[in-house]
């Protein structure tokens, strides 16, 4: 504004705080310097969750297990949804899909309200605001790890061993993380600006599950244009990838790339949107 009148100290080791318009830089370097805060907030989320629940860690075991039982009874026994491979029990098949799905849906419901829930932090301390939704997403990794152990047990019980594809699991965990984070960035920022987004999230999660191949195998969707549209949903790629790496199911092939590109677009769009909006978070939250 008044650069003409008073010489600025810009570039003499001073940080300048002033009004900026439009798109901001992502500030990922700054985010890196705040990694310890990120770890602490993630750790807090995990600690608090298990301390408040009566059953504690047992929940993390019980929840996916019960879901799998319900899925098997309702979809497999009553509705006749079959696993694509006769040698693969539906219970294991659905659990392999539930594993990344529950991570994703949990991340969405936690991170959607994360900024508003941490309003006292946002208005009292400075730190890169990205730390909040990222920690909300990362906190789900503990549940994910526990579910993973349950799945291993389940596979062992059915006498199934993971194939050599299992070495690619970390890649698909990363893809699941990226997907969860991408959507979380959008939802958390939107929820600060439009407070009714939080009521939309449970509905969105439910809807999203039915367009993702959690309950049914992806080959129920005919190859071609419809399959391409379904693959635009990144969770289609993530779940397909998990089933391939864990159970040796058919690899989604080219459709996988559609999902990966969709994640990249969502993630970078989300990052930029978040950075653009974070300037007003402290004023409106």
């Amino acid at each position: 504004m008044s650069d003409g009148a008073v010489r600025s100290f810009r570039g003499e080791g001073f940080r300048i705080y002033e009004h900026k318009n439009g798109w901001a830089a992502l500030g990922l370097r700054e985010l890196w310097t705040y990694r310890e805060l990120l770890i602490f907030l993630t750790w807090r989320d995990i600690l608090v969750r298990y301390k408040q629940a009566v059953l504690g860690v047992a929940w993390a075991f019980l929840q996916p297990f019960l879901m799998m039982i319900v899925f098997t009874v309702v979809f497999n026994r009553l509705l006749g949804v079959k696993s694509p491979d006769p040698n693969l029990p539906y219970a294991v098949f659905s659990f392999a899909g539930l594993l990344p799905w529950q991570f994703f849906s949990g991340a969405l419901s936690r991170s959607g309200v994360s900024l508003v829930g941490n309003a006292s932090l946002l208005t009292k301390v400075y730190f890169p605001r990205l730390v909040i939704p990222i920690s909300a997403v990362l906190a789900g990794l503990v549940d994910f790890a526990i579910s993973f152990v349950v799945l291993m047990g389940l596979m062992a019980a059915y006498g199934l061993a993971p194939t050599w594809h299992a070495v690619f699991i970390p890649l698909f965990v990363l893809l699941a993380l990226a997907t969860a984070l991408a959507v979380s960035l959008w939802l958390s920022a939107l929820n600060v600006l439009y407070r009714d987004v939080q009521y939309l999230i449970p509905f969105l999660v439910q809807l999203w599950m039915f367009v993702s191949p959690v309950i049914y195998p992806i080959d129920k969707i005919p190859a071609g244009p419809l399959r391409i549209i379904f693959s635009l949903n990144p969770m289609t790629g993530v779940i397909g990838g998990f089933r391939w790496a864990l159970l040796g199911q058919e690899f989604p092939g080219g459709y996988m790339w559609i999902s990966i590109v969709a994640v990249a677009v969502l993630l970078f769009g989300g990052l930029f949107y978040f950075k653009r909006m974070e300037r007003v978070f402290a004023d409106v939250v």
Partner: protein, 433 residues
Amino acid sequence: MNDVVLRTVDLGKMYRIGGERQAYRTLRDTLAQAARRPIERIRHPGAAAHTSEMIWALKDVNIELGHGEVLGIIGRNGSGKTTLLKVLSHITEPTVGRAEIRGRVASLLEVGTGFHGELTGRENIQLNGAILGMTRAEIKSKFDEIVEFSEIGHFLDTPVKHYSSGMYVRLAFAVAAHLDPEILIVDEVLAVGDVEFQRKCLGRMGKVAHEGRTVLFVSHNMGAVRNLCSRVIQLTGGRITREGDPQEVTEAYLRDSLVRADSLESVEAAIAALPTDPIFRFQGIVVRQDGRPTLTVRNSEPVEIEIRYSVLERTRGFRVLFDLLDDDHNILLSSHHDDDAQSVLVVEPGEYVSTAFIPADLLAPRSYELRVRARIGNGRWLTNEGVAIPLTAEDTNDINQVFHDMLRPRLRPRIPWRTVRLSESAAYRAGDL
């Protein structure tokens, strides 16, 4: 190389829509508005697209702070103090102008930011430290010191939801007190905790200030501001309206924020003009001599100050007090209703009358001002401004009146004298030798 570590240039912060903050919208409103707008354009083609009330929480703020300066910021609630600290802490961005800062900043806008009731004291120390910008190594190295400072002892591994409010505050301040910044930004965190701990906090702040750190300190505690700060600014309506020597600025601030009662009848109006407080209310103040209400008193007789008030909540450390000022606004004395108490009083809710007696033969024949106030501990003022009551003392029967008229002493207590005649002709004998 310059010595400046913090500077603001024509800094301004505007909030839209009434109140202090910009309200969030709902998606429904936005959609409805988007749908209405084209229709409104057709109906009222000339109307501005969007008009909303705008409030400048800060305007034209120019501050330059050198290394090691301790700047006090005072002003009424809503004058922009906290907004200024938030801009300087990078929490919110200014609307116009800019702030330029060099060095590691720690801001303490609240005690215990990020504390979680389910976590233990130990866990909260680590978390809060990280939130305030300490590294893990720093937290580790200062951990024992923090625990000792906080005096929480063996409650370290108890969830803080089981702490008393005093313990909670002590722990939270202890973490903050061990930050090691080059610039410290503090907002009124000392208004909490018991008197003893407040003293400790002020001591710690003073130490930080004397170590050559740069400090920005917002407070309503004028005593603390005077003791700690090297310079003070007063904000009024978002602008700097006074700046300079702590003593002068705080006195001027107190003077013009006082509610004045010019006659005995107007005391009631002055009380009504005070900001309302959730736990305290004056009911009436009467100055009497010989049982009759009056504002002109004889200095040879005691003066009775009767203060009626109600306390709405059980309060520890509550006290009513009056200051006696001369006509140059020097405080001559200050007296609290609990001055005789052996320990901090806990006051139960109810209606009270406290009566003070200014003894006979204390006042000089001149005009004074009584300033009646109430506070909790040494921190929060319940009636920041207080009620000012003019009081005129008249001399009765003083053979040295003429000297007092010349020297105008501020008080004229009757000091006991004893004069003894030692011998009949000492002077004569001395001369004789």
